[in-house]
């Protein structure tokens, strides 16, 4: 951690940063929280470990909205976050020169929703890491789990744990966890009958309270006016009626097609542990297979949904 802090101080000076977006210790066990610091003096607050779930690229878009997109901003970036930054630059959200990507090696992050589910309503006061095992301590109980049981599903399927594009990289690059193949959950799900699949989505999305935590946690959702808020015309109802809710999730997934980096921020943000990722992952698979495109790997390749190639498959049109 000291290495991180020292290096950040250097970067602040060398790059003349005006803002750095990173993580600091949260108020709950196994939680980190984003922090925006404007001076190297505050670098001592920074941490990076497996509790750093949030996708910080989200704040780059905010930075732009606040009218500060001329500021030189540094961002601590896991592999997925860095890909989000690249994708945002390709989408013209800010200039490449104005963002300094500081890559850090990621071996997966804890999904707070998964933790809550494992604890079945209880809360912990402390934890201890022993290699691949984590022991959770609460008032009057103890629970030992494998690390992978708490990591976000996105991490378990991650192919790019380290920033592919970066200005700096602090630490030794991490190996992909390789616990599951990227699309295993989607492939398994596709084996189900349409009725079974519909029943699953109905069950999941009935829980949705339309808080939009998933949308707001996502760096790719930066529209000035989201389609759910548009009143002329009113695309969907604003209450928690199931058909309106499902349309919201479907359309959001379509809007992020080819842009999603599967950072898992949406699923982690959901207070009700809804399986937000299933639809998005299926669409991501479609984009990868159809167009051979993965979001955020380099600054040259045009995003799949923003370009047309004569060789694109069109069998659905004919």
């Amino acid at each position: 951690m000291d290495k991180l802090v020292e290096k950040i101080k250097d970067i602040f000076a060398d790059e003349k940063l005006e803002l750095l977006i990173g993580y600091t210790k949260g108020t709950l066990p196994l939680r980190a929280t984003p922090i925006l610091i404007e001076s190297a003096d505050d670098a001592g607050k920074l941490i990076f470990d497996f509790t750093c779930q949030n996708n910080l690229a989200r704040y780059l878009v905010d930075e732009k909205k606040r009218g500060g997109d001329r500021r030189r901003v540094g961002i601590i970036a896991k592999g997925c976050d860095a890909r989000a930054v690249v994708q945002l630059v390709l989408e013209g959200q800010f200039e490449r020169e104005n963002v300094v990507i500081i890559g850090v090696p990621c071996r997966g992050v804890v999904d707070p929703g998964k933790l809550r589910k494992k604890l079945a309503g209880r809360e912990i006061v402390n934890f201890q890491v022993n290699g691949e095992k984590i022991t959770l301590f609460g008032n009057g109980f103890e629970l030992e789990l494998k690390r992978s049981e708490l990591l976000s599903d996105s991490c378990l399927a991650c192919r790019y744990p380290n920033a592919v594009q970066y200005n700096y990289f602090i630490g030794e690059p991490a190996e992909p966890l390789g616990v599951r193949d990227g699309y295993a959950s989607v492939d398994e799900f596709e084996q189900k009958s349409p009725d079974e699949r519909w029943a699953y989505f109905e069950k999941e999305y009935s829980k949705c309270i339309r808080c939009y935590a998933c949308r707001n946690a996502c760096p790719m959702c930066y529209c000035e006016e989201c389609f759910v808020d548009c009143s002329t015309p009113q695309w969907i109802g604003k209450g928690n009626d199931l058909s309106d809710t499902i349309i919201f999730h479907i359309v959001r997934v379509l809007h992020t097609a080819g842009r999603c980096v599967d950072c898992g921020a949406c699923a982690a943000a959901c207070p009700l542990n809804i399986d937000i990722r299933m639809l998005g992952k299926r669409v991501e698979k479609e984009v990868t297979e159809r167009f051979g495109f993965t979001a955020g790997l380099d600054f040259e390749t045009q995003p799949a949904m923003a370009a047309f190639n004569e060789n694109d498959k069109e069998e659905f049109i004919m």
Partner: protein
């Protein structure tokens, strides 16, 4: 009038709830796929009373997220208030029970009565379940509450191991309990057990900070940079608002088709950018800082002015659910520290 405490062996709970279901529609915590929320208890369905704090508060039992106010066809409107059996809410925690007292002050005032709230709330019975094991994120004791508080309850239920004690708090609670044969009178030993559980629970929560000067401190910090700091990481979603037992802001929308339709009331959040956006395009709360400041000021200053108490029951759901770990407890401490740092006139 001193009302005796009753006792119910745990094995009889289902029968008790059935009896309750004769006169009332019973809402209790129900678990579905790991998520626990209040819903109508179906025959044979088990209630998830073991769950320390439900994901969703029972707010939507009396104040549904989406509620039809009236149906209309051309000029004719039919008001659609709840007309079912009175509601019995079983297993709300003391923080949730208190929230109804606070919400009532908003929905029912001398000038205007909200008929949709009133239709569900009136004649309802609230059985609150005391918290033997408060969670680390619970802070009801900061806000004049407690794990065994009976504010807002008709009956306070305590789990003493093999049985439940039912302590009537209101006349309606007593009236129902005295009509149920399967209840016995609690013994002195039972009551002692409950008292011990209460002390243990209260002790486990530690000493709360005094919030007496919170409103005054907050009012003085309107232009302070602390708002920029807290709001800088806020996502502007409604995870806090919708999981909060005392947040009540709503929207009214019409949904229609060919001259017929409904006007519905639905939950809204002051954290959303469109909340105050006017038709002209002007928005008096243009950034997240303004909106976060509005939410916290409303809870800890404006609500005090209008309704006499803080608009927060310290349930801790927002602490647990905020995707970026904005912790309202830290915010409160931060306000005191900032106020002190400014010369401590408080």
């Amino acid at each position: 009038m001193e009302m005796d405490t009753y006792k119910l062996q745990k094995g009889n709970l289902e029968r008790f709830l059935q009896k309750l279901g004769e006169k009332f529609v019973v809402h209790a915590p129900v678990e579905s796929d790991g998520v626990v929320a209040f819903s109508e208890l179906m025959p044979g369905q088990e209630s998830a009373l073991y769950f320390p704090r439900t994901h969703k508060p029972p707010k939507d039992v009396f104040y549904p997220q989406t509620e039809v106010m009236f149906h209309y066809e051309k000029d004719i409107t039919h008001s659609a208030e709840y007309k079912g059996k009175p509601i019995a809410l079983f297993g709300a925690r003391p923080c949730d029970a208190k929230s109804f007292v606070l919400l009532e002050r908003v929905f029912i005032d001398p000038k205007y009565e909200d008929p949709y709230w009133a239709a569900r709330r009136n004649n309802a019975l609230v059985f609150s379940l005391a918290c033997n094991d408060p969670l680390p994120s619970c802070f009801c004791n900061w806000l004049d509450g407690g794990p065994f508080s009976n504010t807002g309850s008709d009956v306070l239920v305590t789990d003493i191991g093999d049985a439940y004690l039912f302590e009537p708090i209101s006349e309606n609670g007593e009236s129902f309990l005295s009509s149920v044969d399967m209840l016995k009178k609690a013994t002195k030993k039972d009551i002692e057990k409950a008292q011990n559980a209460k002390e243990r629970a209260e002790l486990s929560m530690g000493e709360p900070p005094k919030l007496d000067s919170l409103k005054v401190s907050l009012d003085a910090l309107w232009d302070d940079p602390l708002w920029d700091k807290v709001s800088s990481k806020c996502l502007g979603c409604a995870a806090c608002t919708y999981s909060c037992p005392t947040c009540y802001c709503f929207d009214i929308q019409d949904e229609s088709r060919r001259g017929k339709g409904v006007r519905i009331r639905l939950w809204d959040s002051c954290m959303f950018p469109l909340f105050t956006k006017e038709g002209s395009g002007h928005n008096p709360r243009p950034t997240r800082k303004y909106r976060l400041r509005q939410r916290f000021m409303h809870k800890f200053s404006y609500f005090v002015e209008k309704q006499g108490e803080f608009g927060c029951v310290g349930c801790g759901r927002c602490v647990s659910f905020c995707p970026v770990n904005i912790d309202i407890r830290n915010f409160i401490i931060g306000v005191f520290q900032t106020a002190q740092g400014k010369g401590g006139e408080q």
